[in-house]
Each structure stands twice: as C-alpha cells, then as structure tokens.
C-alpha cells in the first residue's frame, strides 16, 4: 500500500481530535503514514501524532503561519507533498480543512472529495462515501489521479492509539510572498471550550418551541452537565428568528452533524433539519406536539413541555454523573 499524508490541524494550541481520527484511519489502511503540521510554535505537538500511527511527522513551524491564510498553508503543505509524494492525502473537514483542501488540490492540479464519512481501499484506489443533499443521499466517489485528496468529516472514525515510528523532520518552506495577497487584520475566537457542532459527541438543539433567545440558557446548562464533548445547536426556525447565530444551525443550509447523542428540544423536524442530523447515533425528541415529524426519527421521544423536561433532565444527568 502506498503512503498516506495526513494534514494535522492545530487549534488553540492543541492538535485537533479530528487529526487523530484521520491518522488512525490512515494507519488502519496500511502503508506508511506521514503527517504534516503547520503553525507557529507547534513543533512541540508533533510527537503526539506518533501515538496515533504517524511514521513521519513534518513540521512547518514559522511566525508566517500564526494565523491561517489559505495561500501560505497551501504552499507549506504542497512543499511537504512534494517530499512525501503520497498517494492519498487526508484532511479533517473542519472549517479550516474545508477551505484548505480544495485550494491544495487545485494547486496540485487534481480533484478532491469533500466531507467524506467512510473510505475503503480497492487496490490503490480509495472509494469514498460522502453525503449529498445534506445527507438525504450518499454517494461513492473515486478520484481519477494521485494524490487522492479527501476531506474527512470529524467523528467519522475513532481515534485509536497505535504507535508509529514518529520520526520528526522540520521543514523550512521558502514562501512565495508575492502570491500571498490576503492580510489578516484581526481574529476573534470565543474563549469557550465547547466543541464545534460538527465535532461534538453530544448536541442539545433547540427550535421554534424554545420561544425566545433567553431560553437557550437552559440548553447550554444541559450541555454543560453532559460534559466537555457536548455543545448546543439550533434549527433554522430559531436561527432565522435571530435567537441563535447561524454557526449553530443544523440542517440543509447549516451544518450536517453526526454526534453520538442528538437532543432535539422544541424542533418539529422539517425535512431539511432531519437531513442534517439523521445519522446521529441516538436521537431524542422532546416536543409538546405528539404529531411532530421528529418523533418518527427519534430513538427516544418525550411528549411534554420542554420547559419542564429540560431542567428535570439536567438535574437527573447531574445526579447520574455524580
């Protein structure tokens, strides 16, 4: 099996869990696993990738990469691709990964496959499974040429510790500054430790039934007691009403998510919403209306007033978790 290169993303000074997931998948596919990590002051993180199967870790560490700029990161990763000559490149389909992947592929004059949820090898070809229509359908896709570049949706594979050789190499990339036209003026990231909806293991989502923005505090409290891998989400109705920002929206014009547990509170279950969360492992619906379509997809349904159920559930989870 020819080699795989994984692009490991760093956020808030840590390698993202999604990077370990794709490293584990690369290791499971066989062949040599190389990893590249780009950033400023990230070199010390490199050995962590060896624990998840990386045989070689290329570090591109310079002040130029303090903030993410597509062109600079494309040049850095392309320089490592040139050294490694991988036949497969895996990138986590995070916000940054979704920006980087097609730009990298275009630079290398090949295609890429977006937001893949499963992949299998058939000989030297990767057959990638990905959703379309926000998950109303799935397609199996193949790339015509190497490197086969694939962005992988977080939570699609589990991160399993399996030691790789872990040789670390620092790479000095001579950036072509003339091509870097974009200047970063400021970056504002919320201090919260809450995971992004696409990476969360538990999502507590609210819809029109929440009645107003102030009531989302209740969902935040439930998410908090459910632990650090939990976050909150919202239906389109709640976002369009201005109760939550668009980054919370789950569904066809928002995020497609696949957590272990999805709790839908006061969400009726429009087709666009069901498409966006239908692959969640366990779905809970809490709604006063027993006819709400969400109940046809829910593993557990509670027909009652969410304003009574949610606080009681929060207290109960707290008690269980001790």
């Amino acid at each position: 099996m020819p080699g795989t290169l994984i692009v490991a993303e760093v956020q808030k000074g840590e390698i993202k869990k999604a990077a370990y997931e794709i490293a584990s998948k690369a290791k499971a596919m066989g062949g040599e696993v190389a990893a590249v990590i780009v950033g400023s002051g990230v070199a010390a993180l490199a050995p962590n990738l060896a624990k998840f199967g990386a045989d070689k870790i290329f570090v591109v560490d310079a002040p130029d990469y303090k903030d993410y700029v597509t062109e600079a990161y494309v040049q850095a990763v392309a320089a490592v691709v040139d050294k490694v000559k991988p036949s497969v490149i895996l990138v986590a389909a995070s916000a940054q990964g979704k920006d980087l992947t097609p730009a990298l592929a275009a630079r290398l004059k090949v295609g890429s496959i977006s937001d893949v949820v499963d992949l299998n090898l058939e000989g030297a070809k990767v057959v990638a499974k990905r959703p379309m229509y926000a998950g109303k359908a799935y397609v199996m896709v193949e790339a015509a040429a190497d490197p086969q570049i694939i962005s992988v949706r977080p939570n699609s594979f589990s991160a399993k510790e399996a030691a790789g050789a872990g040789a670390v190499e620092n790479v000095a990339v001579a950036l072509d500054a003339s091509k870097i036209k974009i200047a970063v003026k400021s970056v504002e990231i919320a201090a919260t430790k809450e995971p992004d909806q696409t990476e969360a293991e538990i999502i507590v989502s609210g819809g029109r039934g929440m009645k107003g923005p102030e009531n989302f505090v209740m969902l935040e409290e439930l998410a908090k007691v459910l632990g650090p891998t939990a976050t909150t989400g919202a239906s389109r109705a709640a976002v369009d009403a201005g109760w939550r920002g668009h980054s919370y929206q789950v569904g066809q014009t928002g995020k497609t998510v696949s957590p272990n547990l999805y709790i839908a509170a006061g969400i009726s279950g429009a087709i666009q919403h069901l498409a966006g969360m239908g692959t969640s492992k366990v779905i809970v619906a809490i709604n006063k209306d027993p006819e709400a379509p969400i109940f046809t997809k829910a593993d557990f349904g509670v027909v009652d007033d969410l304003f009574k159920v949610i606080p009681a559930l929060t207290a109960e989870v707290k008690a269980i978790k001790g």
């Binding site: 015509a144 504002e188 692959t279 009681a312």
Partner: protein, 258 residues
C-alpha cells in the same frame, strides 16, 4: 463596482430525494428548481455593492442544462444586468467541481469585475470546492465564508466565519468571495424587475464554445439513500419530571451515551 456572480440551480430544500435508473443521480421529475440558497446571498451582495458605489454592473454566470436559465432570470429580476448561460447538459451531467470551475473560469475570463462572488457551497452536491478552484485557475485570491463585506480604494475588508469565531481580512481587488448565510438578506424580485429581466441579455454558450473540455477529476460510482430510521421508544410517565428521569436512565443504561 463591477461584480460577477456564479450561480447554480438546485432542487429546493423541500425535495424528497429519489434515486434514478442510472443509480448515480436523482429523479428530477416533479423537482422544484431554485437558485442555490448561498448564491442568493452572493447576488444580493453584488447588487448592494453596485448600489453603494452608485455605478457598475452585476453579471451572472451559470453552468447547467436549459432549465438553469430560470435561475439566471431570477438573478436578473433581482437587479443583475447581464447573464452568461453555459447551457450544456452533457458537460454538466459529468462535471465535478473541477470541471465546473473550468467552465465557469472560462466564461468569467472575458468579463470585467472587481469582485467575483460564489455561494459557499451548492446545497445539492455540497462540495464547496468551486471558489478555491476558480481562484487557482484565475490566479486570484479567495476569501471563503464571507459574512461582511466592504470595498474601498481598490481593496476589500471582509469578515469571514471561522471555527468558533470570525476573522477580518484585507484583500486587494479583484478577488473571489464565497458567501455564507448572515452576509445579508436577499431581496425578492419585484414584478417590474421580473418584466425587465425578460429583456436583459443572456449569452448562451456550450462549454466547447469557451474552449473547455476539462474531464472530471472525480466520479460518482453509485448513490444510495440513507437507511430509514424507525420511530423508537415513547418515554411514558405521569409528569415531566418522571419522564425526564426515565429518559436519563434510558440514555445512561440502555443507549449508554451519557
């Protein structure tokens, strides 16, 4: 301020997806076709910028079969000035994001613009690749996921959505921007707008007329529907507290997810 907007006609989000006889596409009978939701934000922003500058043009480019002209007319009815329709059902049927971008890039090359707008992704194939590939093919900088845009003095100051927050960037024009929800509120086409749109010029071309023969870089081998989910267990109880307790127990003991 001159802008060009690349748009795509897609099935309305209400569409129930069924797989066609080929096994790689969807049944299109009865589908309501609309302009991609993110492209509406792109068109709106181009119109807003033209209005703000007090002069300029907004051109629309779309690749698609004959029916895609309706999406172009919608954009013209919103206020765009001209259209280019790469009306090529054969090319479109096989096109992946790379081939799509090649066709759009060829059409865009002959047009004057300060900003080239694209929706952040089409809500049918959900690839989100075209903005980046256009950037490479046209040699222009690309800012994706734009939620705020201001242009002045040959530069644009834009805010883009990033994970957990936002970043403010400065980029020289011309450049490519992909529109994210939150950028603006797209206007509806007015009745006079719809009447005027019928007389606005739309240049209809085949991919070959643009010198484009780009083969797709990726191929769909098969399409399936997700396994149907069944309704599960109704949590019963005398009051909300009892039900909440039973639910927590089920999630902990039975489903083992908390």
């Amino acid at each position: 301020m001159n802008s060009v907007v690349c748009i795509k006609q897609v099935p309305d989000t209400e569409t129930l997806i069924k797989i066609d006889g080929s096994g790689t596409g969807i049944v299109t009978d009865g589908v309501k076709w609309v302009m991609n939701a993110y492209d509406e934000f792109a068109v709106e922003e181009a119109l807003k910028q033209k209005e703000k500058a007090g002069s300029g043009t907004v051109g629309i480019v779309s690749l698609g079969p004959d029916r895609a002209i309706e999406a172009i007319r919608t954009a013209l009815a919103m206020g765009a000035d001209t259209g280019v329709h790469i009306a090529d059902a054969d090319f479109y049927a096989k096109a992946d994001p790379y081939a799509t971008a090649a066709a759009l890039a060829a059409a865009v090359k002959g047009l004057q613009f300060d900003a080239l707008w694209v929706g952040k992704q089409a809500i049918d194939d959900d690839c989100g690749q075209v903005p980046a590939i256009l950037g490479e093919m046209l040699g222009l900088p690309v800012v994706t996921m734009v939620i705020k845009f201001e242009a002045a003095g040959g530069k644009a100051t834009v805010t883009r959505e990033i994970e957990g927050g936002q970043a403010v960037l400065e980029v020289p024009l011309p450049a490519i921007f992909s529109a994210q929800k939150g950028l603006n509120e797209p206007r509806y086409a007015s009745l006079p707008g719809i009447m005027k749109a019928k007389k606005k010029p739309v240049d209809v071309k085949k991919a070959a007329d643009l010198g484009v023969s780009q083969a797709p870089m990726t191929t769909i081998k098969s399409m399936t529907l997700p396994p149907a989910r069944q309704a599960g267990k109704k949590i019963e109880g005398d009051d909300a507290e009892t039900k909440a307790k039973a639910l927590a127990k089920a999630l902990h003991d039975e489903a083992k997810v908390i």
